[in-house]
Amino acid sequence: MKLELRQVTKRFGTLVANDRIDLVVEPGEIHALLGENGAGKSTLMNVLYGLYQAEEGTILLDGVEQNFKGPGDAMAAGIGMVHQHFMLIPVFTVAENVVLGNEPTKKLGVLDLDAARKKVRALSDRFGFDVDPDALVSDLPVGAQQRVEIIKSLIRDAKILVLDEPTAVLTPQETDELMQIMRDLAAAGTSIIFITHKLREVQAVSDKITVIRQGKVVGQAKPTSTAGELATMMVGREVDLKVNKSVAKQGGNLVLRVEDIHVEDDRKQLAVDGVSFNVQAGEVLAIAGVQGNGQTELAEALLGLRHVVKGRGAIALNDVYVDNQSVRQRLEAGIGYVPEDRKKDGLVGEFDIAENLMLNGSYGKPFAKGVAIDFASRDRIANQLIKAFDVRTPSASTQAQKLSGGNQQKVVVARELSREVKLLIVSQPTRGVDVGSIEFIHERIVAERDEGKAVLLISTELDEVLALADRIAVMYRGKIVGIVDANVSRETLGKMMAGVAA
C-alpha cells in the first residue's frame, strides 16, 4: 500500500509540532524517519495512527483520502504501530495478547483461541519470528515481546507498519534480528516506517530516509550518506560525533572499590550477583550491557539507595567502607550522581531550575543560612550554572518539567558537576537528549575525568560507551562478564552483552 502525507500540520496551542509535512512511503519500502527527540516524529505518527487529528493536510492510502477519527480507523485501513513501550498484558499468553480487541469467536461469543494460535503460528513460521503462541508474555525476552507486537499488527492485516524507536531496548544481536525481520516484511510487500535517532541503524536497513527537524521536513537522504551528513541534517549544524579525549593517566588513586557485592531488586531477586571492580582517579570505567541486567540496582547500591545484601560484599570510597553510610553521607563524602531516569530520581518537575540546583545542597552553604534558604546566593549560583552549562531556559525560575529533555539533563549534570565530587556516577547521561546536548554532556564528562575525578559511566548505548570509556565492564544477568580495554571491537562487546565471555 502506498502512503502519502500531504502538508500535514499539527499544532498544540502556539507550538507547531508538525509544519506542512510531506511524506511518501512506497509499498514494500523501509522508510526511516530520522530526527532528534522532540523533532515531531512521534506526533506525526500519532496523526497517522489517528491518535491526533491534524489541523491541515491530508493522508492518502493508495491515492484515496483518509479521515481517521481514532486508532480503530487507522488499523482498519491497514496501519499498524509498534510503540516504544509495548502495549502487552504480561499475564496473558501471546495468542491472547495478539487477538485482544479483535477476538475470533465461535457461536455465542465463545473465544476461539485455537484460531488465534493458528494465526500466530502461521505468521511466526512465515517470517521466522520464533514465538510460541502459548507462552506467557511476561516470560518472554524483550526482543520476543517486540515480535509479538509486530504479529499483533500483522494479524490485523497491517500493510503499513510503524516502528517507534524499536531498538532502544534491544541487544545488538536482537537489533540485527529485528532488521532481518524488517527486510523480510518489506520483501513481502509491507511498508515500514522506522522511527529512530540512531544513525547506524538507519544506514543499515532503510531504503529511504526523511529527516525532520523542529517539526519540518529538512530533506531526504540516501542510506549511503555518512553518519556525519545525517547528523548535520538532523541537528542543523556540523556535529562532531567523536569525543576528543586523550589517553587516561594511569596509576591514579583507587577512588571506588567494589568488592563482590550482591544487591536485590524490588522483588527480592538477586539483581547484582557478585560484582567486583575498581575505578581510579582520572579514568572512565563504563558499565555496558543491555538494559535490565542489574546496572540500575548497582548504581543505586553505590549511592546507598539500595542496600547491599548483608555480609556479601562491600563498597569502599577512598579506602573508607561506606556500606553503613546514608545517602547524604555518601553524597557529602564526594559522590556525584546522575541517575538514569532524571524525571524520577534526578529532578523535581514542579520545582524551578534554581530549586532543582540545590536539591542535594539544602543543608548548608551556599544555598542555606541556618534553616532559611539563601535566595540571593541560590539565584546567583543558578544563573552562573545556567550560563556555564548552556541550559536553554527563559529564566532560573522556570519549572524543570517545562524544559526539553536535553536541558533537564543539563540541569542535573550542572548540579552534580558543580559539587565537590571525587567519584561521578553517571547513568544513561544522554538518554532522551538531543544530539547537541549529547556532545556537550560528553565533553563535560571527559573534562571531569581530566581533572582527576573517577567516573563510572553506566550506559546501554554502545556508541556512548566506546566514545567515553577507558575501560569497559560488561554486565549480564547481574554479573560482570568481563572488563576489557576501550579499543575492543563492537562485535566482541555485543557478544559479551549477550553473556559470552571475551
Binding site: 498544540f12 496551542g13 504480561p90 511476561s138 516470560d139 518472554l140 525476552p141 524483550v142 515481546q145 531496548v169 531488586d265 524490588d266 522483588r267 531477586q269 539483581a271 543491555v290 538494559q291 535490565g292 540500575t296 549511592l303 539507595l305 546514608s326 545517602v327 547524604r328 553521607q329 555518601r330 553524597l331 557529602e332 550522581y337 541517575p339 524520577k344 530520581d345 534526578g346 529532578l347 523535581v348 518537575g349 514542579e350 520545582f351 530549586e355 540545590m358 536539591l359 542535594n360 539544602s362 543543608y363 544555598f367 542555606a368 534553616v371 532559611a372 534558604i373 535566595f375 519549572q399 517545562k402
Partner: protein, 423 residues
C-alpha cells in the same frame, strides 16, 4: 527486562494519590473562583427547589409564570441576603456597633478553621493526606483542658503554657502516624481515621471520669469546668464582640506557615518529598524521617486549633467542642490550594458560612444548604483531576477549555494572564 517493567508499574501505582494531590494543588485561581461561583449557583437551585412558595407557584406556572420566577428570585435573594447580613454586615442593625458584629463572628469562626486548615495543608504539601486533624485536636484538648482547668498559673503565662501543651500533645499524636507510616508502610489515611476514633473517645472518657477532667460536682454528662480566667483567650475588643485572640494566633500561624513552607529549607525538603520522594531520596533526604516530622508539624497546627477551642469554650469543654473543624479543615486546605494565603481566605469563607447559617434559618432557608455549597465548591475544585487520575485519563491540553472560553470572551489580555495562572 520484564523485571524492570514490573518495577516501574509499581512505582506509578504508589504515586497515584500524591499525583492527585499535586494536580489539585496546582489548580489555577480561575478554577477556584469558578468553583465557588458554581457552588453558590447550585446552592441557589437547592434553595429554590425546596422552597414551599416556589413549589406552590409551580402549580399555576403556565397561567402566571411570573409568580414562579418572582418567588425564585425572592428565595435566592432572601437566602444569600441573610447570609450576607449574618456573616459580614447587618444592614438592618440600629447602630454601627451591632452592624459590624457579623464580620467579627466570621473572623471568630474562621480562626480555628484556618489553623487546622494550615495543618492539613502542610500534610498535603508533603504528599500526606492528614485526615486526622479531628483526632489531633481532640488529643490536644485533653492537654489544654487539663492545663486550663486544673493548674494555677498567672495571666498570659497560663494561656501560653496551655497553647504550648496543645501543640506538643497534637504533634506527638501526629508523629505516631508518621512513625507508623515510615516503619510499617501503613497508609496515613487509614491510620489517621482510626486514631480519630481513639482520640475522640479518649477525650470523652477523660471528660466523663471524675478526677480526670470531669467538672467538680459533675453528673453523668461529660463536661469539664470552664477554663480558669487566667487561661482563657481574651477578647480582642469589648465584650460586645466575641472575637478573641484566636484570630491573632491564626494570623501569626499563617505567616509562620508561609515562612516555613516557602522560605525555609525545612519546608523546601517537605515540598521536595511531596513532589517527588524518589528524587528526594537520591538527594540524600531521609524520606521516612521527613514523614514523621511533617506529620508532627501538620498536627501541631491542628493543636493550635484545639487550643483555640479549648480556651474559648463558654461554660466548659464538652466532647463536641471540636465542632468538626478537623474535617472542615480538609476542605479549607483543598480550597486554599495548601498555600498560606489561600488557606486564610478559604478559612474566612467557611467561617462566614458558619457565622451566617443561623441568619439564613431565620428567613426560612435551611442552613444545611451552606454545607452543600461548601462540599460542592471543593468537589468542583478536586473532581476534575481526581476523576482524571482515577480513570488514568491523559492530561488535558495545556490550555484548558474553561480558559479558552474565558479568553474568547474577554479578549487576548486575559488569555495571557490565565495562561500564567495555570503555569
Amino acid at each position: 527486562m520484564s523485571k524492570s517493567k514490573v518495577k516501574v508499574e509499581k512505582l506509578e501505582n504508589d504515586s497515584t494519590s500524591s499525583q492527585v494531590l499535586r494536580e489539585i494543588l496546582t489548580g489555577s485561581p480561575v478554577r477556584t473562583i469558578l468553583s465557588i461561583f458554581v457552588g453558590f449557583a447550585v446552592g441557589a437551585i437547592f434553595m429554590v427547589v425546596f422552597n414551599p412558595e416556589v413549589l406552590k407557584s409551580f402549580g399555576y406556572f403556565f397561567s402566571r409564570p411570573g409568580d414562579t420566577f418572582g418567588a425564585m428570585g425572592k428565595t435566592i435573594g432572601d437566602g444569600y441576603g441573610a447570609l450576607f447580613r449574618g456573616a459580614i454586615f447587618n444592614t438592618q442593625a440600629d447602630t454601627f456597633e451591632i452592624a459590624i458584629r457579623p464580620i467579627t463572628e466570621t473572623l471568630r469562626f474562621a480562626a480555628p478553621l484556618i489553623l487546622a486548615g494550615l495543618g492539613v495543608g502542610l500534610g498535603f504539601r508533603v504528599g500526606l493526606f492528614n485526615i486526622g486533624a479531628v483526632g489531633q485536636m481532640a488529643f490536644s484538648l485533653i492537654g489544654v483542658t487539663y492545663v486550663a482547668t486544673q493548674i494555677q498559673l498567672p495571666f498570659v503565662i497560663h494561656t501560653i503554657v496551655a497553647v504550648i501543651v496543645a501543640v506538643i500533645f497534637a504533634a506527638a499524636y501526629g508523629a505516631i502516624v508518621g512513625f507508623l507510616k515510615a516503619r510499617t508502610g501503613a497508609h496515613e489515611v487509614i491510620v489517621t481515621i482510626m486514631l480519630n476514633y481513639v482520640a475522640l473517645n479518649l477525650f470523652s472518657f477523660f471528660l466523663r471520669t471524675p478526677g480526670l477532667l470531669l467538672e467538680k460536682d459533675g453528673g453523668g454528662t461529660p463536661k469539664a469546668d470552664p477554663a480558669l480566667e487566667t487561661a482563657v483567650l481574651p477578647n480582642l475588643f469589648t465584650d460586645q464582640y466575641r472575637l478573641n485572640w484566636g484570630l491573632i494566633i491564626a494570623i501569626g500561624a499563617t505567616f509562620f506557615y508561609w515562612w516555613l513552607m516557602e522560605r525555609s529549607t525545612i519546608g523546601y525538603r517537605f515540598r521536595m518529598v511531596g513532589f517527588n520522594a524518589n528524587a528526594a531520596r537520591a538527594a540524600g533526604i531521609r524520606v521516612e524521617r521527613t514523614f514523621v516530622w511533617a506529620m508532627a508539624a501538620s498536627a501541631a497546627f491542628a493543636g493550635l486549633a484545639g487550643a483555640n477551642q479549648g480556651l474559648t469554650a463558654v461554660g466548659g469543654v464538652t466532647p463536641s467542642i471540636h465542632a468538626n473543624i478537623g474535617f472542615d479543615a480538609i476542605t479549607v486546605a483543598l480550597l486554599g490550594g495548601s498555600r498560606a494565603g489561600g488557606i486564610f481566605a478559604a478559612g474566612l469563607l467557611f467561617g462566614a458560612f458558619k457565622a451566617g447559617g443561623p441568619a439564613m434559618q431565620v428567613v426560612g432557608v435551611a442552613p444545611e444548604i451552606l454545607h452543600v455549597v461548601q462540599a460542592l465548591i471543593v468537589m468542583f475544585i478536586a473532581a476534575p483531576p481526581l476523576i482524571r487520575a482515577l480513570f488514568r485519563l491523559p492530561q488535558p491540553p495545556k490550555r484548558k477549555p474553561i480558559s479558552e472560553w474565558i479568553a474568547a470572551r474577554l479578549g487576548k489580555g486575559s488569555a495571557s494572564t490565565e495562561q500564567k495562572a495555570s503555569n
